[in-house]
Symmetry: C2
Subunit: 387 residues, 2 copies
Amino acid sequence: MAGGGQLARMTQQAAIGLGVSLRVLAAAPDDAAAKAVSDVRVGDDRARDDLLAFAKGCDVVTFDHEHVPGPHIREVEAAGVPCRPGPDALAHAQDKLVMRDRLSALGVPCPTYARVPESAPLEFVEEFAREHGRPVVLKAVRGGYDGKGVWIVDGADGAGGDLVRRLAGEGVALMAERHVPFRRELAALVARSPYGQGAAYPVVETVQEGGICTEVISPAPGLPDDAAAEAQRLALTIAAELGVVGLLAVELFETDEGLLVNELAMRPHNSGHWTIEGARTSQFEQHLRSVLDLPLGSTEPTARYTVMANVLGGDDPDVYSRYFHVMARDPAVKVHMYGKESRPGRKIGHVTALGDDLADVRERARHAADYLRWGRKAKHDPDGRRS
Amino acid sequence: MAGGGQLARMTQQAAIGLGVSLRVLAAAPDDAAAKAVSDVRVGDDRARDDLLAFAKGCDVVTFDHEHVPGPHIREVEAAGVPCRPGPDALAHAQDKLVMRDRLSALGVPCPTYARVPESAPLEFVEEFAREHGRPVVLKAVRGGYDGKGVWIVDGADGAGGDLVRRLAGEGVALMAERHVPFRRELAALVARSPYGQGAAYPVVETVQEGGICTEVISPAPGLPDDAAAEAQRLALTIAAELGVVGLLAVELFETDEGLLVNELAMRPHNSGHWTIEGARTSQFEQHLRSVLDLPLGSTEPTARYTVMANVLGGDDPDVYSRYFHVMARDPAVKVHMYGKESRPGRKIGHVTALGDDLADVRERARHAADYLRWGRKAKHDPDGRRS
């Protein structure tokens, strides 16, 4: 797996179970995954030579992010090592314009979008705002993740204008999208194997704060069966049409007019961390089964509701001192830490709670995540549950 | 963790989740756990110097077997690194006579037993057989595991006599035990933290073939509530009285006269592998929480029945070629392989199935384990389930 972050780290847990030897290409020996794997190569997974050296001797190469350049992936394949997902599929997760154009051609509903031309970008953004309403969503065509590379601007006046000028000056290719008035965000996670088998997980609701996913609820509460089936059908169709092998996470807007596709990711995804405990087969095992062309595992949920909350870094980096309270208060909450240095706002772990009562399950997950971040300063009173 | 077998390997899966850095002392770099951990020391965990060098810098040392000599453990503790379980508790898992004497003093029911004296062992065994019935169980006082170090003899004539003579000649300390007419074997798994918190898992039935555990059923079918509570009470009492920190597995005989303690193990145990999927907290996470003095996790089952079947090596060592059938037939069965070279009869992995219908769950686990061992030659017809 190219990339040494938490996705590779959690993939290692599944690899151990399957008896699969996972080699990781990490940027540093103390990367999240590098600390959890015996076969670590340290290097730059976007550099041709490092990638080729890493891939040599692997049965198959996969990725824990979408930033490995396609031409390098093609060279790995030319050297005889299959890459899954392959470069043609991955292009749709690397370039938002390629993705939007392809999905539109497939008839998949997306927000109205347009490429911002290099000449006269300010005029274009202002015109887009006049036509499709304010605010406007600006996105870097390539390289964004976790809310990075996405900006919401009123138009080409003031701050919006300054931003567009700065990005244009830096040579960042931009696109504009209509700011969709959505009710909430959903995610549909599916897997597809080279053999062509597909498997769909229950559709989840993702709760975002400041562009970062903070909470995932499975299944999405109150989502009508036909909408859930439609989201799964969309994701399976996209996976098949784009030739995805491995996992595909489709981020969706639920709107009054139906579902719109927001983003694609072709790897284990934050919206699927709940599956470690909440589904019979975790997304990490499923990704391995897919890329190894093994039969896919059951996506059956193990509980009525599963809620995952991301743990972000707080002021005090000593997260472990806060385990005591979290574990003593709730012996059934599951803590997953990524072995990453804690920095304010950085995703350093997640927690999962399961049960029949959604409000209770959400409170348990929320409390644990907040406490691991803030300790006694957590906004949620540690004893609030009982008060 | 001293020892690099599958127990350390599966402990690593839990350590990754907890964000704990697991260092393993393995006999060889291709040991089951060594292949799954980044921080491996290669050495002999029964050798003083190797153990001390390994322990240096650890916050706490624990074990994946019971064969580390007590004096070496004391030296590690003297060097400032706590060992959990400690040498005084571990002595009861290392020496069956120490264990029997202590349990008897605590009033814990055990089979009738006696030390076989070095002088006139043959006469003693024959006398024991006359008094307590035939056959007689002979056990090596130290060093046995997985049916090794246990023999069933008729008495001191013929093969029994030859065995006693050979073992006496090798200087193996022996004890004799009454061959208990048990209905079945059970196991009670509990955890205890230094703080003194205890947690008990559901009592399971263990099915043995030729001295090797082949199947574990949780909970033990048809076990009356009072007997289950008694088994848990016994195990928690033993853990507290012996000062165990970490996991304690108590193997029990269910007899017409009640429960008798057979063996103790102070570590994650084969009878607890079902907890990875079948309990809210796996035994491996629980062991880490115990030895790190964290609050213990919930032992609540996640399904009505969970069945674990051990995968033993068959004639054809290429287990992975048999994944396809096993995973395609049953997408919900969970496969755990230990990365060990397959040899006939060797424990190389296990499978787990969960569900409401015990006969179905057993058949699914049994079939998967048999197929991984034998392939198409499995005694169970691969398609038998549907016939």
